[in-house]
């Protein structure tokens, strides 16, 4: 019996000829990504010795730079841990700062066909690179760091075949909201994304889709590794050896679903849940907003700056509305600055912040007060996610968010791009 893409990656990592749904496999981890959250309240008990310091990367991302003495101590602990364990791949508050999943993409830490683990739930982001990347718990990260190993259940896979091309005004966010709305959650399922529609997709678009697979609760989400993917990884990790995995022709799927990218339209997820909760942007058009936010590991990319700048060029954000833009990494911010996107955003009245998880997880740089309404291009619209539980959070693409910031109401970006 043939294997799906993810089954092949797991089989290789487990050193087995084959795996099948129902198995639980013990695998070797190729890359462990440790973040500031690990050191908070000693959630991750530090191992006496890390199994392989060269396979560990540390990133300070959820609140960086530090905003309280407690947070500063967390960052101190991370620095001390890196030094003690001889971990040289360290993204401190410096030029290499960023949100962990964006940095994984920027620096080529996710290798096709490999296994990557991090405590953040959006670790599935690296599935864009044909990588079996998964969020694991904090205690489990201690185990991975000590032993280099962990376990994964092998579950059934749903195959998504993308056909035609995603219109320029749309974003990976619209694609994943469509999937979440049409098919609901994918708890205890893997998903793989293939088909002619993938070829035209930028790595950033693929990453937005893979990242948001946390919102449909997949175990693993992976894209096929085409030339664009391989070229991206090679350009950033020129010396790395890797083995991309493609699905066998006779692989067995729970379902095979076709998504016609050309037929999609801008969607908005209404507050409190992403699953089966989106509607066309026209159906949200009378919603007045206090804040618009573009950022997070899903949509803090250069593509997202470009989309926002295209909408905002020559326009001003509405009176009484604020637009906060948080780059996914310092590298994204630098390139967005060089290309003039940042200037366009600032001229329109946006506030561009340092790179951090920030408002997306309700920690800093754009937290909401009671009764406020926000439209955000970040990952989640859960009650209380971005500060007050009495705030309302709508989720949409960066273009839709930027258009909404201009109108002061949720707005269709197709009229502005």
């Amino acid at each position: 019996m043939g294997m799906t893409m993810i089954e092949k990656i797991l089989a290789r990592a487990a050193g087995l000829p084959a795996v099948a749904p129902g198995d639980v496999v013990t695998v070797g981890v190729e890359t462990a990504v440790v973040i500031d959250q690990n050191f908070m309240h000693n959630r991750m008990r530090e191992p006496k010795r890390v199994w392989d310091p060269d396979k560990v990367v540390i990133m300070l991302d959820h609140i960086a730079p530090a905003d309280t003495p407690m947070r500063a101590n967390i960052h101190k602990a991370a620095r001390k841990f890196a030094e003690k364990q001889g971990i040289t791949q360290f993204h401190d508050v410096n030029g290499g700062l960023g949100i962990c999943h964006q940095l994984v993409a920027d620096y080529g830490y996710a290798l096709p066909g490999s296994v990557l683990a991090c405590v953040d739930s959006h670790t599935c982001s690296a599935g864009a690179f044909n990588c079996a990347a998964r969020g694991i718990g904090h205690p489990e990260m201690a185990y991975v760091l000590a032993t280099g190993r962990t376990w994964f259940p092998v579950v059934e896979t749903v195959r998504y075949e993308f056909v035609s091309e995603l219109p320029r005004v749309l974003n990976g966010k619209d694609v994943i909201l469509h999937i979440a709305n049409t098919y609901g959650d994918h708890a205890m399922q893997n998903v793989e994304f293939v088909g002619p529609g993938v070829a035209a997709m930028s790595m950033n678009t693929r990453r937005t889709i893979a990242t948001m697979c946390a919102e449909i609760s997949t175990e693993f989400a992976v894209f096929e590794a085409d030339e664009r993917c391989i070229e991206h990884v090679r350009s950033r990790s020129p010396d790395a050896a890797f083995e991309p995995q493609a699905a066998d022709a006779d692989a067995v799927y729970a379902d095979v679903r076709t998504v016609d990218l050309g037929a999609l339209e801008p969607l908005v997820a209404f507050p409190d849940t992403v699953v089966r909760n989106s509607r066309p942007v026209s159906e949200a058009a009378n919603v007045r907003i206090d804040q618009a936010f573009i950022g997070s590991c899903a949509n803090g990319t250069l593509d997202d700056f470009e989309a926002a700048a295209t909408v905002l060029k020559g326009r001003k954000i509405a009176r009484g509305t604020r637009l906060i833009v948080t780059p996914g990494s310092q590298a994204v911010l630098l390139e967005a600055t060089r290309r003039g996107y940042v200037e366009t955003l600032l001229e329109a009245g946006a506030v561009v912040t340092n790179s951090t998880c920030g408002a997306c997880c309700g920690y800093s740089n754009g937290v909401l007060g009671a009764g406020e309404v926000c439209i955000t291009a970040s990952t989640r619209n859960f009650k209380g996610r971005m500060g007050s539980p009495e705030a309302s959070i709508y989720l949409a693409s960066p273009a839709t968010v930027a258009a909404s910031a201009v109108r002061g109401f949720i707005a269709d970006p197709r009229d502005m791009m």
């Binding site: 739930s121 185990y143 205890m188 989640r380």
Partner: protein, 170 residues
């Protein structure tokens, strides 16, 4: 391992921001469980008792990797039985030593307050009021052993793998 307790019922897609809100995580670790479900069920933390059982719908624990399962355990809940459980949340249940089982049909079979008998050897759930017994989804012995040991930390302690906790970040 068999657990008996009074049940509390929650719906579908209960996410980790509801279980343990983001801003709460900046508070001292010991205070965090006091804020569980503050947004969707205020006051519940004062009603829940030691040994109580949480019954829930589809996709329980969807969301972040934060230690939300730990908070449920610290509050005194004895176990979780849900229609389905988010994969990352289930990993956290195992690794914090909080027994959790997927059991299709459990939402319909229980009314809040019913007594439950949850058998982690047979993977069954029995409603003490109606006498109905449901079959849950089995998971490997290896994971049950981690749960029974109280999570992954006690096992790692026993193997001498862990350093002392850092007092500056506690």
């Amino acid at each position: 391992m068999t657990i008996r307790g009074k049940t509390w019922k929650f719906g579908d897609h209960i996410n980790t921001d509801l279980i343990l809100p983001g801003p709460v995580m900046l508070m001292p670790y010991d205070e965090q469980p006091r804020h569980v479900f503050a947004a969707n069920r205020p006051g519940w933390v004062d009603e829940v008792g030691a040994g109580d059982v949480l019954i829930a719908g589809r996709n329980f624990g969807t969301g972040s990797g934060r230690p939300a399962a730990r908070s449920l355990k610290v509050l005194g809940l004895s176990c979780l039985v849900a229609e389905s459980i988010n994969g990352l949340f289930f990993r956290n249940c195992v690794n914090y030593g909080f027994p959790a089982m997927e059991c299709p049909g459990v939402s319909e079979a229980f009314e809040e307050g019913d007594g439950a008998e949850v058998d982690f050897a047979a993977f069954t759930v029995r409603n003490a009021r109606t006498g109905q017994t449901l079959q849950g989804r089995r998971f490997p012995e290896m994971l049950l052993k981690i749960i029974e040991a109280g999570g992954i930390y006690p096992l790692m302690e026993a193997q001498g793998l862990l350093a002392e906790p850092n007092p500056e970040t506690a």
